[in-house]
């Protein structure tokens, strides 16, 4: 009786193995770790092979060959979109001949694949992606690929979905995100922030809706953009969500100034309000942003903290003082007090006279006063505001010198005025203004003025 059933049992077992194989492979990726090295054992269409050939060539190609390889994948056409997504979501590259070894999709290969997807009609990509995810809803590794794809073709409306797609650590009470999830989500969100209008507003909404581990990754994305808008988001988060305050503050040194003196100052005021109750490690994190954003007002506080019982606070205060002053004085408070007193003396006694010199008809005296301004590192916003008045001077050498001084002062208070100087009648002055904006922002700014204004938040 059993014999006749054997072929049936075998067939059932074969079918079970056939259909369970992808699930077993999916279980390999339970923690959404990178896929393990194994031959491609799924369906391979001609599109798969064409794309795989180009992808395998990535490993032998130089950077200059990138556009050619991209063209080869793009020329596969929109019919090849499912194959592109299949490779992306599986994280492996099919073998194209018996000589080929198994390949895990490398970062460079994934980059090429995503560039090709970006050139396809986004609606078609989205449709194929939804179909692919619907076919294997529990495939955690596929979710990682989908996050990368949505980062490339998605819109601000996808932000929440990106968070939901990110696989969590199994058996983890905190629902933490494993390394691979964090990396994918951080990359995708950063892409949206850099590409999509309205993404920064959508991000603020998303931050209010998602859980703590996801918020932390979103904030990492914000900092990774090095966008002047980042500080505002970090500041809002820190103020509104105490559980994220430390995380947000820790990212301020990475994102830099908002290029808006008011926002920078407001953030520093918040830091001042946090410090009295902050434990030493948190206080140190808070002080890390001070060295970056302060224009000298914090010097007395920082000098005082050079004698703090906590070594971390002493280190960070010294680091901030050195950054603010441009001096490499030791950790002893005495020379720092001397420096600050000389700065205060100059500001109170000499600066008013020098400011009067700005109105002098003799150009050498104006230039001499400007030079003196460039030597000082406290009250830089005020100094910059006073120097800005000379940007309307009739002589281009004075305007040029004023821009150089603003660049040296490095205060974001000058950004608006410098933007106005980009179209100065003297080309050299306009060029100097562009360089000064690059230095103050710490960014590599485009030449296009509209784009530049948008980046600097003054569109």
């Amino acid at each position: 009786m059993t014999l006749p059933k054997l072929p049936l049992v075998r067939a059932a077992a074969f079918a079970a193995v056939l259909f369970a194989a992808p699930l077993l492979r999916a279980q390999d990726a339970d923690d959404a770790a990178p896929p393990r090295l194994a031959p491609w054992s799924w369906e391979t269409t001609p599109s798969h092979l064409r794309i795989a050939t180009a992808l395998r060539d990535v490993r032998r190609a130089s950077a200059a060959d990138g556009p050619l390889l991209l063209k080869r994948i793009v020329e596969s056409g929109r019919d090849a979109i499912p194959a592109q997504l299949d490779i992306l979501l599986r994280g492996r590259v099919p073998e194209t001949s018996p000589k080929d070894g198994p390949q895990v999709l490398s970062e460079a290969q994934r980059g090429l694949l995503l560039s090709a997807l970006a050139q396809m009609p986004s609606k078609a990509v989205r449709k194929a992606l939804e179909a692919r995810l619907a076919a294997t809803p529990d495939d955690r590794a596929a979710h990682l690929g989908a996050i990368y794809a949505l980062g490339t073709i998605g819109t601000v409306a996808d932000m929440q979905q990106l968070v939901e797609l990110a696989p969590r650590k199994l058996n983890d009470e905190k629902h933490s995100l494993p390394f691979a999830s964090r990396a994918a989500l951080r990359t995708a969100i950063a892409q949206l922030l850099q590409r999509e209008r309205g993404a920064w507003t959508a991000l603020s909404d998303t931050l209010r809706k998602v859980d703590l581990p996801s918020c932390e990754v979103l904030l990492d994305s914000v900092a990774s953009t090095r966008d002047p808008r980042a500080l505002g988001v970090l500041f809002d988060t820190a103020r509104s969500n105490g559980r994220l305050a430390w995380k947000a503050a820790s990212l301020v040194p990475a994102c830099g100034s908002s290029l808006n003196a008011e926002t920078d100052r407001a953030y520093l005021e918040w830091v001042r309000s946090e410090l009295p109750t902050a434990e030493p490690s948190y206080a140190r994190t808070l002080l890390m942003g001070v060295g970056l954003l302060d224009d000298g007002e914090w010097a007395p506080t920082l000098i005082e903290k050079l004698e703090d019982p906590d070594s971390g606070i002493r280190e960070e205060s010294l680091s901030a003082l050195r950054r603010i002053s441009g001096l490499q004085l030791p950790a002893d408070p005495a020379p720092w007090r001397g420096w600050y007193q000389s700065e205060e003396h100059w500001n109170k006694v000499e600066r008013p006279h020098l400011r009067d010199e700005f109105a002098c008809a003799e150009t050498p005296r104006v230039l001499s006063a400007l030079r003196a301004y460039a030597e000082h590192r406290t009250h830089r916003s005020e100094l910059a505001s006073e120097v800005v008045g000379l940007l309307e001077h009739g002589k281009p050498e004075v305007r040029g010198m004023a821009i150089n001084v603003l660049e040296r002062l490095g205060s974001p208070a000058a950004c608006g005025a410098l933007l106005g100087m980009l179209s100065d009648s003297d080309g050299a002055v306009g060029e100097a203004a562009w360089h000064a904006l690059n230095t103050i922002s710490g960014l590599e700014l485009p030449r296009d003025q509209d784009r530049l204004r948008e980046i600097l938040g003054r569109s």
Binding site: R59, Q103, V104, E107, S281, T285, G312
Partner: protein
């Protein structure tokens, strides 16, 4: 009578004009004298200021000469108070005094026409040695949670013998040419030095030292793979010993509970290294160190261990060519550096193109340099300060810690 009075009156007023003139001249002379005095005083002030500037430049010349001598490896000799160096119409001298471990304090005095200025430069000697930090990531370093980095000195005893208050010494530095991030529960007992223009982010983490950015990037030299006689594949199913000679193997696999002993001095080139759970690679470093150069994949399963008999990390260097990104020569795709939980290595690991991610209780005694380092849960890195001298090339450079003007004492 009236005319006589008029005559007397006119006679009495005679000479008043002269008096006025004399008074005016006197006043003008006094004014001129005052102006000359003010002018001279101003000149004196300007002259004193000029001499002070000159004296300051003389100090800087003296400090430059002293720094050049330090960098050249010779004793500082730049005049003395009794026999100063004459230069540019002025005089200077420099004294060099020890200011602590590896610290030298240079005090320079410059004199110009008896106007003196003193300046101080505090420098630290840094041996030319790539192994000066526990961890260095070329692109970035991410210490996500509960990672511990400290230091010890293997020449002074075991790590355990140097632990006090939960950690050993505090020179377990972390560095990168990019950003460094330290997350929840991470403790770095040492400096965290990001690359120029980059930063450290500390979230519920502590760093005992400085977080100031470096002023220059660290260059990663390429690994040159030597060519030796090939011994094919080696599977260690019973304990085995490789003699002290240079060899190439295609693959080495050390099976569970087995030990492969490599006798130094030796350079061993391996295409793929696999260590199954509870396996050991022991370096017999009695007669010299061992370098393992692994071209493709490194896979260390749980509880696998690599160490020299002496437990001296300077006696084992592991070079990893794995790139995790692209390698034109390797048919097998992504090179893997996989290290599972509870693995322990004593040595220095150099993987200039590898992105190393560890989510396990990995312990390293020594140092690691890689393209990208990401560590999670309970990884421990104990930098061996003995590497500073044991792996130094011999040359020493000096870095400036502080520069300041100090009161000039006659």
């Amino acid at each position: 009578m009236l005319s006589a009075r008029k005559h007397l009156a006119s006679h009495s007023e005679r000479g008043s004009g002269l008096a006025m003139i004399i008074m005016s001249v006197a006043a003008m002379a006094a004014l001129a004298a005052a102006m000359v005095t003010v002018g001279m005083s101003s000149n004196r002030e300007q002259s004193a200021e000029l001499r002070k500037s000159q004296a300051s430049y003389l100090c800087q010349a003296g400090l430059s000469q002293a720094m050049y001598q330090l960098q050249s490896g010779v004793t500082v000799s730049a005049g003395t108070q009794q026999e100063p160096v004459t230069w540019g119409g002025g005089r200077f001298w420099v004294t060099a005094t020890p200011g602590g471990t590896d610290i030298t304090v240079l005090n320079a005095t410059g004199l110009d026409n008896n106007v003196g200025v003193s300046q101080q430069l505090v420098v630290r000697s840094v041996p030319t040695n790539m192994w000066t930090r526990a961890l260095f990531g070329k692109d970035s370093v991410s210490l996500d949670s509960s990672v511990m980095v400290d230091s010890y000195n293997s020449s002074l005893g075991t790590y355990a013998s140097q632990v006090s208050g939960g950690h050993a010494l505090s020179n377990g530095a972390v560095g990168s040419n990019g950003n460094i991030s330290a997350g929840s529960g991470t403790k770095v007992y040492g400096n965290a030095t990001p690359g120029p223009g980059h930063s450290v982010s500390l979230h519920e983490a502590t760093v005992s030292g400085s977080t100031a950015a470096a002023t220059s990037q660290v260059t990663f030299p390429p690994i040159n793979v030597p060519t030796y006689t090939s011994y094919g594949a080696l599977t260690v199913s019973t304990n085995k010993t490789i003699p002290a000679e240079n060899r190439t193997y295609t693959n080495i696999k050390v099976n569970e509970n087995k030990t492969l002993t490599i006798t130094g001095p030796a350079d061993i080139v391996i295409s793929n290294l696999t260590m199954v759970s509870n396996s050991y690679i022991v370096i017999n470093d009695t007669n010299g160190p061992v370098t393992l150069t692994i071209i493709d994949n490194v896979k260390l399963d749980s509880n696998s261990n690599i160490w020299p008999i002496s437990k001296d990390p300077s006696k084992l260097r592991i070079n990893m060519l794995s790139d995790n990104v692209a390698d034109p020569e390797v048919v097998v795709a992504l090179d893997t550096v996989s290290i599972s939980s509870n693995s322990t290595i004593y040595g220095v690991i150099y993987a200039p193109e590898a992105r190393i991610f560890l989510d396990s209780a990995f312990v390293l005694y020594g140092a690691i340099m890689a393209r990208n380092l990401s560590f999670d849960s309970n990884c421990k890195f104990h930098f061996d300060e003995h590497l500073l001298s044991a792996m130094a090339s011999g040359a020493t450079t000096y870095e400036t810690l502080a520069w300041l003007e100090v009161p000039y004492v006659h």
